[in-house]
Amino acid sequence: MKCNQVKKRLSAYLDGELTAAEAEKVSDHLNRCVGCRRAAEQLRRAYQRLDAGDALPADSFFLTRFRARLSDLGQSNARPYWQQWLQRAVIPATLAVGLFLGMQLGIHLQQNWSGAQSSGNTYIESQLLSDMQQNSLTAQYLALNGWTEGDDEE
């Protein structure tokens, strides 16, 4: 056997998965070839150090949990299809309706609030204008000094 042929079969050789005849051929080659022997040793050590931890401990309640889940599944499967479909559709439909109503309420409140605010502003502005026209600053100043408009002309 040549080196490249041996290297391809090294893994199976180390795992004892070759036939007796194949294993003997590989073994003969390894006795003669230092490079392949080193490669085999490296593979063996890497695989030996492959420690992924022990098995998990047995769980004596697993069967109970399995039976409970199986029972739940059985009950949900026993319901008519339309009922299962309705159950699956209730949560998303409720959320969609809630979202839609929330948006409508938000839009409505925003419109009312801005309308009230703008009408309020218009009222205040008109009052101010009216006051300014009736009581101009000059008129107020003269009134403070006991004069009235037109005194100078006299």
Binding site: K8, A12, A46, Y47, D51, A52, A55, L56, F66
Partner: protein, 197 residues
């Protein structure tokens, strides 16, 4: 059928009894394989909830599929195949959803099933070193392509022969040999720091 009788029966005999309507036969099959399947799921999935869910789903699929199961096939091989497929599907769906949860790795659960493993020698330093080694192995395994990882897990940790792995993975014997060979070469490189040459 009492418990003692159950324990003397082969898996395939229990399957036939279950197919005949004996529910307790399935309970016995579950008792036999519960630890192995949970451990197999734990090798693939890191979160405790996923491990429990994976094992439960495997047995639920087995329960529903067992009526159509042919007793000439090995029950254990069939069960392993269900578990491996479930775990690989779970990993694929997690990979697809990862972009939605970019920081999920920051709040991983602390109560890992490995914490309750048997065989602890109560030396905190040795325990720490061992946990670190286990973590390195998990990362190295996760770096392997799916088919190589499955071959290594089934061979190295579950002790299946090449032929049994070929049955679980539905591939040829030479494909298993090639996958294991490539995986070992890659692992030798990935675990170089832990391998004394």
């Amino acid at each position: 059928m009492d418990r003692e009788l159950n324990q003397t029966m082969t898996d395939e005999e229990l399957v036939v009894r279950f197919q005949g309507g004996d529910e307790r036969a399935f309970d016995e099959l579950l008792r036999r394989y519960e630890q192995k399947i949970r451990t197999l799921c734990w090798r693939y999935l890191s979160q405790p909830d996923d491990v429990e869910d994976g094992a439960q789903e495997t047995f639920i699929k087995a329960y529903h599929g067992l009526k159509a199961f042919h007793p000439q096939a090995r029950f254990s091989t069939w069960l392993y195949r269900i578990a491996v497929n479930h775990c690989l599907n779970k990993i694929r769906s997690q990979r697809r959803r990862r972009w939605l949860q970019p920081f999920s790795h920051l709040y991983r659960s602390d109560d890992h099933p490995a914490d309750s493993m048997e065989g602890g020698d109560n030396d905190p330093l040795q325990d720490l070193e061992r946990q670190e080694r286990i973590q390195q192995v998990r990362l190295a395994l996760a770096a392997l392509p799916e088919d190589q990882r499955t071959a290594v897990i089934l061979h190295r940790f579950e002790g299946l022969s090449y032929q049994e792995i070929a049955d679980v993975m539905a591939c040829s014997l030479s494909a298993v040999e090639a996958r294991l060979h490539r995986a070992k070469l890659k692992l030798a490189g990935l675990l170089a720091a832990y391998v004394e040459v």
